[in-house]
Symmetry: C2
Subunit: 268 residues, 2 copies
Amino acid sequence: MRGTRALGCALGEEVRITVMGVLPEIRPGDDLAAMLADIAEDAGVAPGDVVAIAHKPVSKAEGRIVHLADVVPGADARALAHETGKSPQLCQVILGESRRILRRRRSLLVCETHHGFVCANAGVDASNTAEGTVVLLPVDPDASARQLQHALSGVAGGRVGLVITDTHGRAFRRGLVNIAVGVAGFEAVLDHRGGRDRDGRLLVATDQALGDEVAAAAGMLMGKASGRPAVLVRGLSTSPAPGTVHALVRDPDQDVFRAPVGADGVVR
Amino acid sequence: MRGTRALGCALGEEVRITVMGVLPEIRPGDDLAAMLADIAEDAGVAPGDVVAIAHKPVSKAEGRIVHLADVVPGADARALAHETGKSPQLCQVILGESRRILRRRRSLLVCETHHGFVCANAGVDASNTAEGTVVLLPVDPDASARQLQHALSGVAGGRVGLVITDTHGRAFRRGLVNIAVGVAGFEAVLDHRGGRDRDGRLLVATDQALGDEVAAAAGMLMGKASGRPAVLVRGLSTSPAPGTVHALVRDPDQDVFRAPVGADGVVR
């Protein structure tokens, strides 16, 4: 899961991040890979590029849309709705997407999803969707990323990296950033320890979360407006690999903020 | 602290991130602002650009270097050294930089710094420094950023944004990303709600952590090798403001991961 190559890893001199063309409103069953390949081809996608796309069109193409009126809330969802002020139907959907709820305060629900992501509302998104519907994260975002990556690499004539992003809050920090929820075609985490760059300078970074850096960089341009969910990142040297977002996801039992802890801060 | 302008906020079509020239090894008392302005001028810095620089040269110029042999550890530091396997001197320095230690496990110390940052070892850095020394974060990174921003805006002939970065781990995620520890010249967090972009598309992002996005984007190119700690970011529309990293720092009492919590995840 981790890259160990030193030379040329993410060490270009210039990176360009370009908004790709407009995608139409995506519907379940749409061939998003073909549509994305079309706008990437128009944008001149080339081997070595990385494309970042927001998860919402991916989820919509995969039919990960729920009509809340069709949801029958259980007892847990009704209790959670009472405590949070959210609708019982929405709470049922959030519970269905969650391994567990890590923190609750008023309407805030910080969940651990079945993928292992920690985020508000288990990634269930009610913004920019049809009235009465919510959009879920893809069931297997790495598989979604691989499918898109395959189509893009086809039009590029060589390996293209692919990151599916979502916009998350963070512990300790205010404001939202884009992070990777699916990765294909490159190592999402790089270990530069002990290597040297092409000018012989010692590489000092360890465990660089390149997949999340790409997502955050793409977030500077992407997703603020509807219809422009995809950007092209050029000039980044990446390590070829199947790639997986799980390189970026900490196991719960390795995470000092999900482990039992004493008043002295010592993790049990 | 929060931008409310909608049009033109971070909505360019292309962002370029370019490595600036090499800085020499920085010594306490060096005029880093003048040195940075020189390499930024060579790189063609222009009004509207944002420059990101790693904290280490900033800290070194400000004399935030500690010779561990000069440190006299107290009883707390000696006890912490025993528990973590770190040296008592290093523990003393870390304790001095910390408001409190949030989590401990073996050698891992997750600290809340006096600035309010949550990071390993309170930002005390032993890598890429002279033998027997450690480098601390600037005392007031926003003030450091303002000073550099003033010099850069001078050579650019107009407002340049400035981000001082550090490389941090995250709760829940593996791998390190660059985040902002000091900001000057632009709003570090933007609120796009309800606005429209220049093509009339509805803006959907709320509380975009632009300062951290810039830091993460810069991290794709910066800091992996010594001597290249500064990058130029061009094409980003920012909201003019004095700017402060504190827009990006969550108050401890607003943070559900630092509040007392029950077994059911409900924050007390």
